[in-house]
Symmetry: C2
Subunit: 335 residues, 2 copies
């Protein structure tokens, strides 16, 4: 029986993540994880004429990098699963246009990295694919001007705001080859905490993170000790605290094992990002850069990775709606 509960499945044949790649922006390259990334940009443009084209180039080059590192060619890849934050997911579409790989487009806001890893693992475990790429991206400048204010305004950012990571992360999943394996998948439901502030994404996503983490432990019958590390996608400082508190209230204490990609990627004291990092590229680059290497080196052997997304749209928030959140979780283990 593959199904452990309403939201959790266990793969019959755990799926290997045979390699990963990550490319990040200048600011991310000045942070504590700098040495883990494959390439660090020198400026916001990377030779392109618009930030959107830059973001698409980052995603495209991350795909090339992961193909090269995993010694695969695009013809080895059966599906590419991708999405991003931009309207109509253009970073992904324009990057993948040039790859000649069958494409399944996803949208899960910042939860997209784990959504793509989940569906990629399902395609392989189900026998539908041999090799799959899961990839996402974000860019501070594209996200800020799409979701908040024109950059030229130089608007002051409130303390609850998170800094959208400029970066991309890609994984090659395979039914053949070694590497840490995806073993269980907990797919999230949409949870709305009633938050209406587009500058407080952490709070908007905390309810979904809490729900998915609680459900994962409940349905797998695992206890916190099972994992070496529990890492959320990009709740940042405020969302992580809220998640900790809410989980505590329902009797789950993960604090000792818990951190967040949005906390890890920037230096809280020196980099002035307020509530931490966010964006599809945050979870993608921190997982593909830092966490994957820790798994490969067996400093971590059992990881619970939960990517959280705020399903925010300026149009409907301006119409008075709150911002719903979603969180998808996967366990990645050295078996």
């Amino acid at each position: 029986m593959k199904r452990l509960g309403t939201q959790t499945i266990k793969l019959e044949n755990p799926v290997s993540i045979i390699d990963t790649a990550s490319i990040v922006g200048k600011k991310e390259g000045e942070g504590p994880l700098a040495s883990y990334f494959d390439y660090i940009l020198e400026d916001e443009y990377w030779g392109e004429k618009s930030f959107e084209k830059t973001e698409s180039k980052i995603l495209y080059e991350t795909i090339n990098k992961v193909l090269q590192k995993s010694k695969k060619t695009s013809s080895d890849i059966n599906y590419i699963l991708a999405g991003d934050l931009l309207n109509q997911c253009i970073s992904s579409a324009y990057a993948i246009r040039d790859t000649n790989i069958p494409f399944l487009g996803l949208y899960g806001a910042c939860s997209t990295m784990v959504e793509s890893l989940s569906l990629g693992a399902i395609l392989i475990d189900g026998g539908f694919a041999n090799n799959v790429i899961a990839v996402t991206s974000s860019h501070f400048c594209t996200a800020e001007r799409q979701f908040r204010f024109p950059l030229e305004l130089g608007s002051q950012r409130p303390q609850t705001s998170q800094w959208t990571v400029t970066g991309s992360g890609a994984s090659v999943l395979s039914n053949d080859g070694s590497g840490p394996k995806i073993t269980t998948i907990t797919t999230g439901k949409i949870i709305d905490m009633g938050i209406k502030d587009a500058n407080n994404m952490g709070a908007a996503m905390a309810g979904a993170a809490t729900d998915t983490i609680f459900t994962h432990f409940n349905e797998t019958c695992r206890n916190i000790d099972y994992y070496d590390l529990i890492v959320t996608g990009d709740l940042g400082h405020i969302g992580s605290n809220l998640t900790n508190n809410m989980l505590n209230k329902i009797g789950v204490n993960i604090e000792q094992k818990f951190t967040d990609c949005g906390i890890l990627i920037f230096d809280k004291e020196k980099q002035d990002t307020h509530a931490g990092g966010s964006g599809c590229g945050c979870c993608a680059s921190v997982f593909s850069g830092y966490l994957y290497k820790k798994l490969k080196e067996r400093e971590i052997n059992k990881l619970l990775l939960i990517a959280t997304g705020a399903l925010m749209s300026t149009t409907i928030v301006q119409q008075g709606e709150s911002i719903p959140g979603i969180a998808h979780a996967i366990s990645i283990e050295n078996l």
Copy 2:
């Protein structure tokens, strides 16, 4: 062996579409398929204060209708796969927020209906789910003001433009129960024909449709006679003609069996929609309303359904980029 070629897989256990539901707008309810839809709106708002909220309500009520028709409750559904045209897929997110079903968000523009049916069938055939809902929506007023001009401008529409369908269609896929079955899946690649005109979606998508249809026949080793009907998602009149012509040039003549959801849904002479219907809701409602009933009544026994999407974004088109297209195909058969 499940894999028939680079882009096509054959399901080991074909997946039943046990029921469908469709809700459409007033104009669609005045067209030739009126009698096939479950519910027809009386105006553009359906009691909501914005077109976006109306579109989300249409999608939500279509989910309720398909649950009711298939005699399922939301707790029977393991996953809901959905997406739409609006920025950050808000019609889907806000509708599904209230369903309590694990959610996998998709973005494939107007190809989303077949993308969701494809992934839904994969989840079931792979043993990951018993029941899945695949659903999408669109609304003329939300799409027009997001992608083109404010409605209040009353801009004249060029003859190449298509009319975004107001409507939604949903299917319940199941491993238990009767109904027409999804048997093969051909996942598309992104194809860019260099079209830069946001009012000529048919031309932008024709290349992708041609590629996927050609690949499907090539990889399944089927000939045109195998199918009773070959229906594209929403190429409309112009895109369908282009697809026919391009297929003819590479030696594939589907003309006798070929039509398009965007052609079927409106009366070309009386309804003044220029190049025909479009939007995620076009393929979704025509399949869920009209084609599914024809399959159930065995007037059609073998259908090739190809949903086509123009991966268009105003931002990047304004930056001078062309509009890439994608097309996903499934065969649906009475076995």
